[in-house]
Symmetry: C2
Subunit: 348 residues, 2 copies
């Protein structure tokens, strides 16, 4: 644990690089939160020993068997300001804020989306601000490319406006603004990272409009049929779960001074069309995998996907050491390695 006198004076990035750290993951029961905890158990925080890790979520996160440090599970909802204060009472050095009502639910339940995604974030930031003199942790907020809305230029640069066309995107954009202002005021040391669409998501198909992007890779690699509702030229921006965890770890150890005042960063990713994704699947899984994709055009899904961004220039994030896959083949291989234990590679 970092000595008390060190906590106030030095930038958090420096503390994380030089000493052992206490970490809090809010939203630890989600897919990315879980994978982040597992990564930290193996690697530490940017190679430094972790002394305490708190896994918090609205449902109890699963235990983490492999950890060589103290792991505590906490059932807490940051939409409750008291719960938020309790979570940061022991002044963790790094707070990962991944808790959110997802896109579809934020659109379906307007009040819940604002309560969790906006008020919850504000409660967490206020809790950090109120946790005592000299406390200024690194806070890593998982934002999303949903902060962008059409019309888009061919390539979306780091100076492009956040004009979201969903309540979820609006809530993420508001949270980014809060993280930047709380950072500028010296209440914490925040970084917001805008995650690409995560692909291939492990597990069962879900009802998210973006779900088919993962399904058309995941299901055929397991010998199952998958439905494709959009044409082959639909283009979007992707990163693997493995890359997303890498972004979070990198954001935790980044030098805040190198970031400056603009604390929201669009993460690198792979720009791919559905047609290119299918050719990657063919190279990894063979023709028999591709034949399991069933084309069932769906106008509603097409309209939604047409409003999503396809390509970014993420030079700020790349310059700060954030790395994604080089192409979609790598994304498919990451899925095979991480979720299928390397099996299912038919045509490699």
């Amino acid at each position: 644990m970092v000595a008390e006198e060190e906590r106030g004076g030095r930038p958090l990035g420096e503390r994380v690089r030089s000493g052992s750290v206490r970490i809090l993951i809010v939203g630890a029961a989600g897919m990315i939160g879980r994978k982040l905890a597992e990564r930290l158990a193996v690697d530490g925080a940017a190679g430094r020993p972790i002394t305490h890790l708190t896994l918090a979520d609205v449902v109890e996160p699963l235990p983490l068997p492999a950890a060589a440090f103290d792991v505590r599970a906490a059932v807490a909802d940051v939409a409750d300001p008291v719960a938020a204060r309790e979570l940061v009472a022991d002044r963790p050095d790094v707070v990962f804020h991944l808790a959110a009502v997802v896109s579809g639910e934020a659109e379906a339940d307007f009040d819940k989306g604002y309560r969790v995604n906006v008020d919850g974030t504000r409660h967490l930031l206020e809790a950090v601000r109120g946790a005592g003199v000299g406390y200024r942790p690194r806070l890593v907020f998982s934002s999303s490319i949903a902060v962008f809305g059409p019309p888009f230029p061919d390539v979306i640069g780091d100076d492009h406006l956040a004009a979201p066309l969903t309540s979820y995107g609006t809530q993420k954009a508001i949270a980014e603004l809060l993280v930047s202002d709380y950072t500028r005021r010296g209440f914490l040391d925040g970084v917001s990272i805008r995650l690409p669409t995560i692909c291939v998501r492990p597990g069962k198909p879900n009802k998210a409009a973006s779900g088919f992007f993962s399904s058309i890779i995941r299901e055929p690699l397991s010998g199952l049929e998958a439905v494709l509702p959009v044409p082959d030229d639909a283009r979007h921006w992707f990163a693997s779960p493995r890359a997303a965890v890498g972004f979070l770890v990198r954001a935790a150890s980044l030098d805040g001074n190198a970031l400056g005042d603009r604390r929201a960063l669009t993460m690198p990713g792979v720009s791919a069309t559905v047609g290119e994704m299918i050719e990657s699947l063919r190279r990894v899984g063979g023709d028999e995998a591709v034949e399991l994709i069933r084309r069932v055009p769906d106008e509603a899904t097409m309209r939604i996907v047409a409003g999503w961004p396809g390509r970014f220039d993420t030079r700020r994030a790349r310059g700060l050491g954030f790395e994604a896959e080089a192409d979609f083949d790598e994304i498919v291989r990451a899925h095979v390695e991480d979720e299928l234990s390397g099996i299912g590679v038919v045509a490699a």
Copy 2:
């Protein structure tokens, strides 16, 4: 008053253009709010008769002698959700939301700035959303170019990101996002207009960092000395109080469909350096006016002003009929005509 069955079905812009209207100004005791009320008393709303006007503020707005319609004053603070609900209980057709803690105060009092500028705006939007089925008023929100922060390109376009470097700018950017999302969800029909720095502000010098921009014109035209703390090449973006009122009136009658989903518009203005402003003063007020400017360089003010934007390309707003002055001479003349009853024009 618009018939009840009309209120739900037709776009508000259309209603404002075709019938008489009820108007609410929140923040009516401020300089712009007062001038807006006076303009509405003379012109109506885009040429249409007004039947009711409510002037609301945290202090009681002055009476409006010239109005040919019902005027009600209300002392109310939208930071109180009950007060916000009471203000919209009679379902005004147009709501001007001008109430705000100003820049300096929002920086000095973090909590107050968020309570009024963010929570107050949200309460007002929620009050509108909750005021009954079919109610979807035009809401005009006065935002600010403070939503932009450096580094800037030479000319800031309509697609440039909002990356504010003040709590005030952050709060305005958050409010813009809320106005756009509430509009997209159909709860109201909002327009956020980003006002340039208003110059020449009438009245006494104030302590705002931007105050000198008005002082160096206003004081010399009244035979008083003014202090200039920055060099002549400092550039900024201006509009007169008269132009600002024109923006608000235009925003009230605009066709929402022409706006689309991006409901925040940077307003036109005049890009001028301090040196250019002084030459305008010379043309209107003569050398003796210019001689009343005393150069007292101030490092702190210079640093603040260096972080402010200098030039915008506002083609979206211009295309929608928003008009500012053509040059800084016009801004000075507007001040002479509106505040000095045309006197003081020495060298015209």
